[in-house]
Amino acid sequence: MEKTIEIKDWYISNFGEFEKRLNGGKENSIHEKRKRALSNFSKLEFPTIKDEEWKYTSIAPLLKYNFAPTYEKKNVSKEFIKSLLFDEMEHSLIVFINGRYSAEHSDLLNLHKGVIVGSIANEIKNNNEVLLKHFDKYADHQNHIFTALSTAYTEDGAFIYVPAGRIVKEPIHIIFITTSADKKILTQPRNLFVAEKSSQVTIIEHYACDEESTYFTNAVTEIVAEENAVVDHIKLQEESKKAFHIARMEVDQERNSNFSSHLISTGADLTRNEFNARFNDEGGECTLNGLYMIDGTQLFDAHTLMDHAKPHCNSYEHYKGILDDKSRGVFNGKVIVRQDAQKTNAFQENNNILLSDEALVNTKPQLEIFADDVKCSHGATIGQMDEDAKFYLKSRGIGEEVGNGILLHAFASDVVTSIKIGSIRNYIEKIITEKFNQ
């Protein structure tokens, strides 16, 4: 306990330095929010495994380090960035290095009038009205210490604004790179995506690093899909196996909006991913798919919440995990169907394959249904590879190693087939292929 207090003080004590570096940003209205969040942060405690929501995920290893933002300018090679891009795809590219926008590596297409794609730091400076309206509105930090930390240290991240009726055809690829030379860097990407009425956009949040070092990514993403908007979100986590990654995404869905998210992760040392979506009006549709492929002593924790507050909404959730060695997975999927939310369809599924006797998954579907005319289902499986399928492949001349690769690839690919853009699917297929040698 003592250590935790120390660490909290550490994060608080860095705030002075952070403020100094803001370069006049202190006069901004966002700064009031920062200070409020800091005060909240100081009142909250880091969760322990005694907290129900953190029962299987101990963050003690994270609290052992004094992570801090870096103010040193670092760069990465063009080749490295290129290796993270999707082939043959027109896109807008926004790159952040150690949490800061890199104009040099970013490449923004000529977008429709009114569409804004860029750094949130700029928009804070410009007092962007959309930003002021939505920032900090969905990712509440009253009870969430990591969000409080993020909000207090809000500096940079991606800001995307698609005005009513605009269709942004080319996906927006956001890459967050940590290059730290093991300097225990803390980066806190803070993203806000707003899609107005009847607009459409595809956004990729891509986390990467150029070496296996120890750092801490604390990411918060707020997404607003207004009436009839279509937002496709993909998150790729290709981080250091020594890194810590705590992330939260809050999605606000208005009438007839359609949101989808696909999370593809090869994990970190410790990953906690919270995806929460809320239907604020009727006719919404939401897809949350996820794939985690971990090994060694990695821990991956997916917490999701589908909040059906209004009638006639559909949600589909499918998370799959492949765990090897002594890795551990946690899936906690909560679906709330509130009393008003009649004619809700909510489906949830979590399937896991354990490749070793020592790998472990704790899966917990939580359905809280208060309406009576709804269709809901959930299922969770934890198993080994299918022996019948393995024998079938062998009987066709395909041996154990190649056969396992094929079967794992097939199991994994399942959750990515619903990604609409082929180039992105191909990139993910490549991650899976590298992972399972097939």
């Binding site: 299918d386 019948d388 399928a389 024998f391 079938y392 492949l393 062998k394 009987s395 066709r396 001349g397 395909i398 041996g399 154990e400 190649v402 056969g403 094929i406 079967l407 690839h409 097939a410 199991f411 690919s413 399942d414």
Partner: protein
């Protein structure tokens, strides 16, 4: 090509095959018939190398090699093919992927060049006609959502592509309507040659109207109790398996 001598095998401590003797030469078609539970499928599975079954006694010689020593994938690479009674569904793996990987693994084993995509596709297209499968079928997941007939046709299609020396068809006819049965039989017949052999495991004589066997063996209670020409199958159809059962009883009594 294949010589089975005094084969005893079982699963989980139960002996199912109780001394099988069978010799199959290149160019021959052998039918193995018998009532349910007689050990027909066990024989097919043991020959293919299913790990759950254990061989208690006996030997199986295949082209000069001890078949029982080979891993299942090596048996396939040596030219043994099992058409499954219940083909396995493999979601997410396309028929193309399965076949291309299988074919190239087999070719690698034999020291042959792997086929490139164009060569592979032209081979596959030619073989599809044999079992009257539509091209769209190639991109579908292996057996997933297939009808019974489609699954069996897929087995024969795979056999056509992999061109085995010894094909074992395990109840490939069960549950097929007459049209599907004809397609399957026609496929098998077209693949027959003087260099390969086929073992047709079946419960019903009907298939043998279309795949005419050189030899028919009756398996009962883990042993081959009768062998003969194709007329034996007709007799079985007429008199039913009870005839075999009482016959065996008589022999034992006599």
């Amino acid at each position: 090509m294949l010589e089975i001598k005094n084969l005893h095998a079982g699963i989980e401590g139960n002996e199912i095959l109780k001394g099988i003797n069978l010799k199959v030469n290149a160019g021959e078609v052998h039918a193995i018939m018998g009532p349910n539970g007689s050990g027909k499928s066990t024989l097919a599975q043991v020959l293919a190398g299913r790990e759950e079954y254990n061989v208690i006694e006996g030997e199986v010689n295949y082209n000069g090699k001890n078949l029982l020593d080979l891993a299942p994938e090596d048996r396939a690479r040596e030219g043994v093919f099992l058409a499954f009674q219940y083909p396995v569904e493999i979601p997410g793996v396309s028929n193309t992927n399965l076949l291309k990987t299988a074919l190239n693994e087999i070719r690698k084993y034999r020291g042959e060049e792997e086929l490139d995509t164009i060569e592979f596709l032209s081979l596959v297209k030619e073989k599809m006609k044999l079992v009257e499968l539509d091209q769209k079928f190639l991109s579908r997941s292996v057996n997933e959502g297939f009808s019974g007939g489609e699954k069996k046709r897929n087995e024969i299609f795979q056999m056509a592509v992999l061109q085995p020396k010894l094909a074992i068809l395990d109840e490939t006819d069960s549950g097929l309507d007459i049209d599907a049965l004809k397609i399957v039989a026609n496929g098998v017949n077209k693949l027959r040659s003087k260099d390969n052999a086929t073992i047709v495991v079946t419960h019903y004589q009907r298939l043998l109207n279309y795949i005419v066997p050189d030899f028919v063996h009756v398996l009962y209670n883990g042993k081959i109790v009768k062998s003969g020409g194709k007329e034996l199958a007709l007799k079985l159809e007429d008199m039913g398996y009870d005839w075999v059962k009482s016959n065996v009883a008589e022999t034992v009594a006599g």
